[in-house]
């Protein structure tokens, strides 16, 4: 049981780390600010989500798990908002402002 | 180290007075803030005189017993907790500052008074709160027995002093205040880094414990250097004085008096604590000569620039730069040549007396300058003619302040310089004597320029723009007289400055 959980953690966290790498590659390669926003918020949020998922079995108690999930939810929220705000700025001023 | 030979600190009878001296201004600040401008002045009117009363009880207590008052805050003895200690230096400085602050408060009634029933106004509300905060911060500087508590004290002092500079809201004073803030914060940070290093090396910041544990090592030297530079910046010792003239000259008169007489003495007092109490053996002959050299440079530079000023308030501000220099001459003069330690000798007494007499004299002079400005509508020295006839009492106060700055008998400045000269002769350091005498000549020079203009007759009789309240002139004169008669303490409690010094507290071999 313990081993299974550990394997789950390792695989989920590894997947999360890979998404972070993908996000960075996206930032590096995407041509303009709007597409780069996708790389930053969507991909990285997925990465964080996988890391949180992977760490859930390692936490002790419901409260700790709840806190982890709420961190992810908060980042989701702020990712969505930040994307909107920055995209709005880009639209008003052009992408090189 | 003879740590075991010394009894741990314990709260002495009357120790609670020390708590009161710090807590009542803090309570006054909080209360005034919440009750608003209509009450700030009245709260100050109650608290400031009781502060003077409190300081005099502590003064008499220390003088009579010849020993320190101690209070252990929270019942936790150092190194875990904080001790408040009042030795002779603290008591004398507390007393002086209480007198100056009370006189400034009386003076300020004219400019920052609030009539009953009027709406809250910005400047009076801020002024009274800041004045109480400065009083509390100074008490904390004098009583704090812990280097971090002293850090909190100088933070309090900075944040109370800087807004005073730009209280009248002109753009150029705002710039001066910002420059002051920059220097003061830089000084705070350097001081804080130094305390962190000391804590890392000795696991205590208590002044008494630290003085027994401290020894020469790189980290300690770096800490001492950083703290000293930080405090020099706050004290405006040459060449870190750049912020002082615009700030002190631009502030309203009552604020200038507090800033020049009181605030710069706070960081200076911590320099004294640091080098005389915490590490008397670390400064060494070279360091002491460096301190003295900076002081001498300040005297020469400040005086020469003061001589060239066109405006009275700037002249007085540059005179402060010069007079601060005198305070640092006591370091080479207090250094014992045999043990290479700073000794609480006549030079220390002279230096502290210089701080005290400068505080009273300079406050009186800034107040006088404020009255002159109010009467003439300007403070251009060349156009002072006839003012001595219009407000003789004020000009007299200004002249008496000058007498103390020059160091003529029987003023406090005379006694201070006498003690310093005596030490210079005794230790064979004649060059400091020359600097002091030259400084006296310079001071006489700029005092002569101002006074000769002021007594010169004007073409037509001078019409004062405003009627100056008598109590304003009286406050300035009272402080000037205090400074003049301070020399008479030679027959009285001058030995209080030696009361409760650390050396006399130590049992066993050092």
């Amino acid at each position: 049981m313990n081993l299974a959980l550990d394997i789950f953690t390792v695989s989920a966290v590894s997947a999360g780390a890979l998404f972070f790498l993908a996000g960075t590659v996206g930032l590096l390669r995407f041509p303009d600010s709007l597409t780069r926003l996708h790389a930053l918020t969507k991909v990285d949020n997925l990465g964080l989500g996988l890391v949180v998922l992977g760490l859930l079995p390692q936490t002790n108690g419901l409260f700790g798990a709840l806190k982890l999930v709420s961190i992810w939810l908060l980042v989701q929220l702020s990712g969505a908002i930040v994307t909107q705000l920055i995209a709005g700025t880009v639209r008003r001023r052009g992408s090189n402002g | 180290m003879p740590e075991a030979n010394v009894l741990p600190d314990a709260t002495t009878t009357d120790g609670a007075l020390l708590v009161l001296a710090i807590v009542s201004p803090a309570a006054g600040v909080l209360l005034s803030f919440v009750l608003g401008g209509q009450y700030a002045e009245r709260i100050a009117a109650v608290l400031l005189p009781s502060g003077l009363f409190l300081a005099s009880i502590i003064f008499v207590d220390v003088w009579r017993s010849g020993d320190r008052l101690i209070y252990i805050v929270g019942d936790w003895t150092p190194p875990l907790g904080i001790a408040l200690r009042a030795d002779g230096l603290s008591a004398a400085m507390m007393m002086t500052m209480a007198i100056v602050i009370c006189a400034v408060a009386i003076f300020a009634l004219a400019d920052f008074g609030t009539r009953a029933g009027s709406a809250e106004a910005r400047a009076p509300f801020a002024f009274w709160i800041l004045l109480m905060a400065i009083w509390g911060a100074m008490n904390m500087v004098f009583l704090g027995g812990d280097l971090f508590t002293l850090y909190v004290a100088i933070e309090l002092l900075t944040f109370a002093a800087v807004p005073l500079v730009c209280l009248d809201g002109r753009a150029e004073t705002l710039q001066a205040a910002l420059r002051y803030l920059l220097f003061a914060l830089l000084g705070s940070i350097l001081y804080l880094v130094g305390t962190a290093l000391l804590y890392g090396s000795y696991a205590t910041l208590d002044i008494v414990l630290l003085s027994r544990r401290i020894h020469m090592e790189p980290a300690t030297l770096v800490a001492a250097a950083l703290m000293t530079i930080g405090l020099f910046a706050k004290t405006a010792l040459f060449p870190l004085h750049l912020w002082l003239p615009p700030a002190h000259a631009g502030a309203p008169a009552a604020a200038s008096a507090v800033l020049s007489a009181v605030v710069v003495k706070g960081s200076f007092f911590i320099v004294v604590r640091l080098w005389f109490d915490v590490m008397p053996g670390m400064l060494g002959p070279a360091g002491a000569q460096l301190f003295g050299g900076l002081g001498a440079a300040a005297i020469v530079f400040g005086s020469v620039v003061a001589l060239q000023q066109q405006r009275l308030k700037l002249l007085i501000a540059y005179s402060t730069v010069a007079q601060i220099g005198y305070l640092f001459l006591m370091f080479p003069l207090a250094l014992d040549t045999v043990s290479a330690e700073l000794q609480s000798s006549g030079a220390l007494t002279g230096g502290m007396l210089q701080a005290i007499s400068h505080a009273t004299a300079k406050a009186a002079m800034f107040m006088a300058a404020g009255i002159i400005y109010a009467v003439l509508g300007h403070d251009r020295i060349a156009e002072l003619g006839g003012v001595a006839r219009a407000i003789p009492m004020t000009i007299f106060a200004f002249a008496l302040g000058g007498v103390s700055l020059i160091g003529l008998p029987p003023s406090g400045g005379f006694l201070a310089k006498w003690l310093l000269l005596e030490a210079a002769v005794a230790t064979g350091q004649w060059w400091w004597a020359i600097v002091m005498l030259a400084g006296g000549l310079f001071t006489s020079g700029y005092m002569f320029i101002v006074l000769s203009r002021a007594v010169a007759p004007s073409g037509e009789p001078l019409k004062p723009r405003v009627a100056v309240p008598r109590y304003q002139e009286a406050a300035a004169l009272a402080l000037a007289l205090t400074s003049l008669l301070l020399g008479l303490v030679a027959f009285g409690p001058v030995d209080i400055l030696q009361a409760g010094r650390l050396e006399s507290m130590l049992v066993g071999p050092r």
Partner: protein, 313 residues
């Protein structure tokens, strides 16, 4: 152990890189963002130094409030068209020399540690049980060195008074000139409706947990301040005038209760700022709650800046 070392070295290199790029940035906006990033990275560094309390403070102050303040300053400069204040070469040079000297001094001090590194930590822990607290940092702040903590809060109020006193006389009692988001934005409104409830819960949690684990009044207060600012920036609540009757009592309630409990200690316990046996923890929690409120309001108003408009009747 080696993985720790590799991680730490990587972190340090990154922090140094960000620091250099922040200093080298020619544009104020870029420099501020570099500084915010630097603060956020520092909070990870504090975690690695086992100073979680400091990490929390750095995350809240460095990540939230400092960025807020400095970006506000950048915006003001732009608005006033004064972004090109040039600093003369000698001043730059003197600054560089001073910084280099301080850095060299610190390097000497840190690289030559004393033979035995003395510490008060065991003593702090030993005596902590008496107070019923579990967090040694709270013990230092509210038990051993309560005087310093109390007076630091007075400093905060003085700083606010200093900011207020910058205003012209005509607007005294008026409204701080916080730059609010001018265009009605549904996104921002949404955020300002959703985040503050979460933030308030976090603030209460921070304040509560401070007694036994890292956290406390300062971190909680900073979160409160940030949430309040968010609501004001989004335009959901107006910036209050400083004449509001609730405002000043809230600002001083923390220090006043702290002071009152301290004075009561002179009578009910052995000394000023000593707690009666058995009551230490509840009293400290009460002080922390009050301080959280005061710090929140004070930081919020500090970030809101000097007064700009007179109060509308």
């Amino acid at each position: 152990m080696t993985i720790f070392a590799v991680f730490d070295i990587g972190l340090v290199v990154l922090i140094l890189g960000i620091a250099v790029s922040t200093i080298a940035a020619r544009d104020a906006f870029a420099a501020v963002i570099g500084f915010v990033v630097y603060g956020l990275l520092l909070s990870i560094a504090w975690v690695r130094l086992a100073a979680v309390d400091v990490a929390l403070t750095e995350a809240a102050i460095g990540g939230g409030m400092t960025g807020m303040l400095m970006l506000g300053a950048v915006a003001r400069l732009r608005f006033a068209g004064g972004n090109d204040i040039s600093i003369s070469l000698p001043v730059r040079f003197a600054t560089a020399v001073l910084c280099a000297l301080v850095a060299a001094g610190l390097a000497i001090a840190v690289l030559s540690p004393p033979d035995a590194i003395p510490t008060l930590a065991p003593m702090v822990m030993e005596n902590l049980a008496q107070s019923g607290l579990g967090n040694p940092v709270a013990g230092v702040l509210f038990v051993y060195r309560a005087l310093d903590t109390l007076l630091e809060k007075v400093v905060l109020i003085l700083a606010l008074l200093g900011v207020w006193s910058l205003a012209p006389d005509s607007v005294w009692g008026g409204i701080p000139g916080l730059r609010v988001y001018a265009r009605r934005s549904s996104t921002l409104t949404f955020l300002a409706q959703l985040l503050p409830p979460v933030g308030i819960v976090v603030a209460i949690y921070m304040c509560w947990v401070g007694a036994k684990e890292p956290g406390g009044a300062f971190q909680g207060g900073t979160v409160l301040a940030a949430m309040w600012l968010l609501v004001m920036i989004a335009g959901l609540k107006r910036v209050p005038s400083i004449g509001q009757p609730w405002l000043r009592p809230l600002l001083v309630v923390g220090p006043v209760i702290f002071l009152a409990i301290g004075l009561a200690g002179m009578v009910l316990a052995n000394a000023f700022l000593a707690y009666p046996p058995g009551y230490a923890k509840p009293l400290i929690v009460a002080v922390e709650v009050a301080l959280t409120l005061s710090i929140g309001v004070a930081l919020g108003l500090l970030a809101a800046g000097p007064l700009e408009q007179a109060q509308q009747q």
